[in-house]
Symmetry: C2
Subunit: 433 residues, 2 copies
């Protein structure tokens, strides 16, 4: 007799509907691949009376979480309701009821992933969350299975579709941030309240999750230095283009000498770098390993069906484990000590744009400042001063420490003839000579 596995769903929004659709449409193949039938049994919704596109048998729906979490026939809980406190509570309850959990909730996993994995382990249950980073891209599995043998040195991700869409449009159509954001909202690539996306918080959550898996270290959200894209000007994109760069919001996690640097910030990428070509709403995670070298995983970072693919693949993994009776054996809890790299040990190239009074001796003074700060300059563009005798200077440093760069920003700001520092960004992917 073929075993039957029932799933309980928490939430029936964009991702939840995709999961229901996929499990129903692919039921026969799932059953073939698993040797066991899989079906959704109950779905927790907030509002029973809401009109839905999805045709659901109404007895499936419930607004009482216990109908899902305490149903003894349900083996796997899929949490796609979002939010933190309620979801955390339900997932704990599910695990304590010996139900395996699959979640797409990056906010929750970024904040409470370690705690929930421990509850899962204590109850010999699976807790999988592939969909929480990179939507349909199987990048967490890439880290935990495919590249498990290697020492990961660096993870760089374009892991927020909204900001990548906005930056692509600004760059290609030469439109302002505000216009690009409005367009993205109209097309459904940005939410009505886009704060978490454009301020980099969404990307920061995903980076915490990626860094934890890459380095087996309990990185917390507060370890991620975060800067969004709201201040990016067309002018900088234009100068970047002249220099052969394209602007991306990048999550960076780097391990050197047992110490971890982790940030989300707008970054200029050399056009030759694989991440530079990732456009529109697409995501990509670039992983550098000591032995494997450079790899990249590319695909749709959001959307109903792509995210459902990751969720259902996780469900299938849990079902396989059930059939083999090995659940709870593959939850990875980060266990190495955490050490965050100080600013004088973080190295990078930087772009800075500023205005100075165009008077005698100014450039000699500038050169002296950079020389004293031990920063050598890779490229410099000076735009001739107009009637106001104010010159615009764009400058790219060679690799230097973040601390040195912070010092030079300070020194520039103190310079008599400086009008204003307009912007500064990290530069990545320039081929070393």
């Amino acid at each position: 007799m073929q075993k039957q596995v029932f799933i309980g769903l928490l939430g029936l929004g964009v991702v939840g509907s995709g999961v229901v659709k996929m499990i129903e449409n692919h039921r026969e193949e799932l059953s073939q691949k698993l040797g066991c039938d899989v079906a959704v049994k109950r779905v927790l919704v907030r509002d029973m009376n809401k009109q839905r596109h999805l045709a659901m048998h109404s007895p499936m729906l419930t607004s009482n979480p216990d109908d899902v979490l305490n149903d003894p026939e349900i083996d796997i809980i899929v949490e796609v309701m979002g939010g933190i406190d309620e979801a955390r509570h339900y997932i704990r309850q599910a695990l304590q009821n010996k139900k395996h959990v699959v979640t797409a909730n990056k906010d929750l996993i970024a904040l409470h992933g370690q705690e929930l994995l421990e509850v899962a382990n204590n109850n010999r249950c699976d807790l999988f969350y592939e969909a929480s980073v990179g939507g349909g891209i199987p990048v967490l599995r890439g880290l935990t299975d495919g590249l498990i043998s290697d020492r990961i040195q660096e993870v760089m991700g374009i892991i927020n579709g909204t900001t990548n869409y906005i930056l692509t449009k600004m760059d290609e159509d030469s439109i302002s941030f505000d216009k690009a954001l409005a367009d993205a909202q109209q097309l459904g690539f940005a939410e009505a309240d886009p704060t978490a996306d454009i301020e980099g918080l969404d990307a920061a959550r995903k980076m915490a999750i990626l860094a934890r898996l890459a380095f087996s270290t309990n990185v917390e959200l507060s370890d991620v230095e975060t800067c969004g894209i709201t201040n990016i000007s067309l002018k900088d994109l234009e100068y970047g283009k002249q220099l052969g760069y394209v602007m991306k919001l990048i999550g960076l996690a780097k391990k050197e000498n047992e110490s971890i640097e982790i940030s989300v910030q707008p970054t200029f990428f050399a056009k030759e770098h694989p991440l530079a070509g990732v456009k529109n709403e697409y995501n990509a995670v670039y992983i550098k390993g000591e032995a494997v070298g450079e790899t990249m995983f590319y695909g749709p970072g959001a959307g109903s069906m792509p995210t459902a693919t990751a969720v259902v693949s996780d469900v299938m993994a849990a079902v396989k484990n059930m059939l083999l009776e090995i659940n709870g054996k593959s939850n990875l809890i980060a266990n190495l000590d955490k050490k965050i790299t100080p600013a004088d040990q973080r190295f990078g190239q930087y772009y800075v744009r500023f205005y100075v009074k165009d008077k005698a001796g100014v450039f000699a003074r500038l050169s002296q400042l950079f020389h004293d700060a031990e920063i050598s300059i890779e490229r410099i563009i000076q735009r001739p001063a107009g009637k106001d005798h104010i010159a615009e200077v764009i400058l790219v440093t060679h690799e230097t420490s973040l601390k040195n760069f912070q010092t030079i920003l300070q020194k520039l700001a103190e310079m008599d003839s400086l009008e204003s520092i307009q912007s500064h960004y990290r530069v990545e992917g320039v081929k070393k000579q």
Copy 2:
């Protein structure tokens, strides 16, 4: 007491040395991650007296396969000797001795993968071969785990580093195929006998493996229509550039209406397509799924350490299975019926370049031919005729069936005023209007 797993290695060439190095250097981490120590015990080599870079305890080496295959302490055999008959024989023997097998041997898996997987299953042993396609890129796992829930529609791969290196150099440095090949040989990106690479056979083997996993169908090497890159001229690359294309040797496997099309051929890619940016010796596999949409896995397709990463990750998977006592449960044997798509059901865009006598009525005749063949033309470039009154025509069709395209090639060849058809290539990745 911690369990000890011993590995027997067949072969100590480029990949074998990488595997030994990795297992030795990462021994502590491997042991931490697995909860069990892993070490290489014996290594089969052809010539005991060969000078080796690698410092090996000489008692480890043997030229007698039975010392490895019949050692009761050895649990896992890593086959990195290459070749077909001998390797097949040893792997069968290892599996029959209840040893798990990890291999990087694409030639063998392409030809005898199904048979060996059956032997593995019958003996409840693992047979893993991630390293056989895409070197360090964990793309087989991507298909079998991460995207398992989806229906794969198309796999396109740049899966031969040698030819990608040659095509990149031809394109970027405007050098001939012969010169680029000679350079590649000097730099170690092409072998002394490059036939299997440049004729597309190496890529065809990898496509057979990918297609089998993507479609769960026993595709054989002979199902892969194969064409290499030896006839590609700089002239075509130049015209391609004008049209916004770049040339790649592409393995294509496509499933439509339960029917499979599979080929390796030089293909023009629109510059916007993610595969167009994959340069030099890098590999990438682009996978299109019904639900997930477009994904791509990118990385180093060969080399000692990248390939060793894939091999050792497979070894770790086998060790984990040993500890959980679930070996032999994840070998996937393709089990769906095979149907190969006929030429009238294969659709694509095509580029063709030819010479015609530049006389009255020729273009009307050409238009008529294409109209009769039901092929509409997307773009056409006509190069003015010189003193010889011979015009060069470059033409890109809209999507049409391969059969229609073969017909038009035939009709063109029969045309009175045709001088010669110079070349024709498939075109991919052009955005549909």
